[in-house]
Symmetry: C2
Subunit: 421 residues, 2 copies
Amino acid sequence: MTAKANAVVAQSGGPTAVINASVCGVVQQALESGRVGKVFGAINGILGVLREEIFDIGAEGKRKVNELRRCPAAAFGSCRYKLGSLDENRADYERILEVFSAHEIRYFFYAGGNDSMDTCDKVNRLAAETGYELTCMGVPKTIDNDLAYTDHCPGYGSVAKYVATCAMEAGKDTEALYTTDTCTILEVMGRNAGWIAAATGLAARTPEDAPHLIYLPESAFTFEKFVRDVKEVHQRLGRVFIAVGEGIKDEKGQYVTADSGSFSKDSFGHQQLGGVADMLKVVIEKEVGIKARWNKLGTNQRSAMHFASQTDVDEAWLCGATAVRQALAGVNGKMVTLQRQDGDHYECTTGLAELRDVANGEKKVPPEYIHPAGNHITEAMKDYVRPLVQGQVRVKIAADGLPVYVRFGRRPVPPRCATYM
Amino acid sequence: MTAKANAVVAQSGGPTAVINASVCGVVQQALESGRVGKVFGAINGILGVLREEIFDIGAEGKRKVNELRRCPAAAFGSCRYKLGSLDENRADYERILEVFSAHEIRYFFYAGGNDSMDTCDKVNRLAAETGYELTCMGVPKTIDNDLAYTDHCPGYGSVAKYVATCAMEAGKDTEALYTTDTCTILEVMGRNAGWIAAATGLAARTPEDAPHLIYLPESAFTFEKFVRDVKEVHQRLGRVFIAVGEGIKDEKGQYVTADSGSFSKDSFGHQQLGGVADMLKVVIEKEVGIKARWNKLGTNQRSAMHFASQTDVDEAWLCGATAVRQALAGVNGKMVTLQRQDGDHYECTTGLAELRDVANGEKKVPPEYIHPAGNHITEAMKDYVRPLVQGQVRVKIAADGLPVYVRFGRRPVPPRCATYM
């Protein structure tokens, strides 16, 4: 491998508040190492590689690169394109190596969730098989916090801080206006894992505080139990604040609600969810007889840089920088992990996991973090999430009173390969 | 009137980020004047007066009172209880005076919207009619910004700052993931006036920026035009970000969507709205053929103290303090207004309006603030809202990484009247 091989970094899947901080770590570490030539950004994740739409990140300037530390979403563009197996879709993988080779790319850094780690692993395997010298490193990213082998995922700390704050603030609203709007439901993301819903529980410092009830996909949901829960809280406090993960499931493991429109499945075949809060509202009004309303934060929860966790930003940057350091030290085919150290004081270091292990894993909220009644969290869950939400990002504010978030020019390099796709 | 007559302050209607700052202004000004005895808080607005549930705010301590400057929702409790006309419901108004008299209350400060100003006015009229010496002052409050006779309403600047930031951040998310999630709809509050939806337009610094389309109740909505708008933006940018007020109406003035459940009307007879974003999503997916998703901030938009406007907080406090100063100077039956001064530099002073005029008025977004195509705002609207979102409130953060918001003990004073209601 030449000393000045190029690198490419790509962002994948649902954006977060800190995935840009991770690529900032990759870019800054790579450029400062003096051992990498150009660092290319793939426009819209792996699609940018397949389409040979890559740009020279360094050309955007150091100041702009540094601004990635406090810019939400994915400045290079993301995608949900799934490549499938090597056997079924070898052409896509070969195309990736063709583009890498054409631009002398020997390092591939992919920030994403388990689907991205799967892609990263398969690209790596084909490179080994075909003798193309390549180092592939994964950088963890997901608000869902469902990646295995890592204590937590960059992106989770910020969404946790934001949804807990939203639960606290909307809970104050319900506490103020309970004589009319007696019940509020806060619907948060989380298709299979309830980490985000669980994080709202941090706001419940006392039994009076919202949320009073929390429902996660990990606990089988029954309407009978739900109605009993709501009645109990209403009787006790005169108001009810509920946090619910979009992916709650019944005793048979079926989603409690599901859209049935023409776009009901995304391109990975995941079922698209929506409307669980609206459905619970109807149940509450009918079965408990109190007025209910609901908030659905949607993509605002994963892009809320204006109140993101500084710890999350720092750890995201660290994961990106560590991926580069390890790659330059000869490590290959791994994802950087975050390892919480034992002891009273929170301390987090990095580790490494096999890409293919992460690709096949999924980490759900463990039983010891869920209240035995299945309607709230435990102190152990609070202890887990508390260190992750420490510190507030101070965004840059323009004269118009709103945040300033960087936008990259992303001028694609001249193509060297034939058109594909 | 004795020099040491007591005062009562009450909060009404939907809470805001800064209605507590307004009552903070009332309480601090009243206690510091040396001319008011006790300042009582009515628990849950006018309901607290009717039920004789009032508490001594001063007994909670100066530090706690000062914390009201950065606590969202309504710390004394709010309500949506409408008293109706004096003729029809004289008993309620007489009861109010009975409770006032029993506790030597000669000052009534009511923070709320036009329904509250109506209540405040009628209490004042009955007091005059019956010879009960009383001063009634209104303090403006509404996120909807729809009160007449005031340049803007405390509460609006904070919701404007927050929804514009949310549009910017979720817009970045859509820009990142447009290859899958091509269109995002942000549904915001605003039953009849589109001020909140209009404020999101501040985020659109360039034509690339979200929101690309904004729909207000003031402009007749047609599906044909809407579909054309979405197609045009999609063709131009490959993505579409839409901000919509919950109360958009068709050419006949009918709400474009309306719930039909048993709780479809609130206790003031207002139609309860919901689901406009969900409906637009279906239209877009069917008629434009792109995937759409939506966020509904709900009560989180009016309680987002974690990124509230410092200008709004300061002006809210000023309105409360001014109500007291004017009352002590002999003014009666007025609501404090905010008067924007002419000139390049934003400067705002207070004025006064008749309670009954405010009660009967409603201020909608004027045509010159709405783009002629009815799908965005003008520069004039940006100039209007920009000064109102200046400065960020710094909330107090606890060791758990989340905000600290004060909760009042609200221990009711011993009753002196018979039970009522």
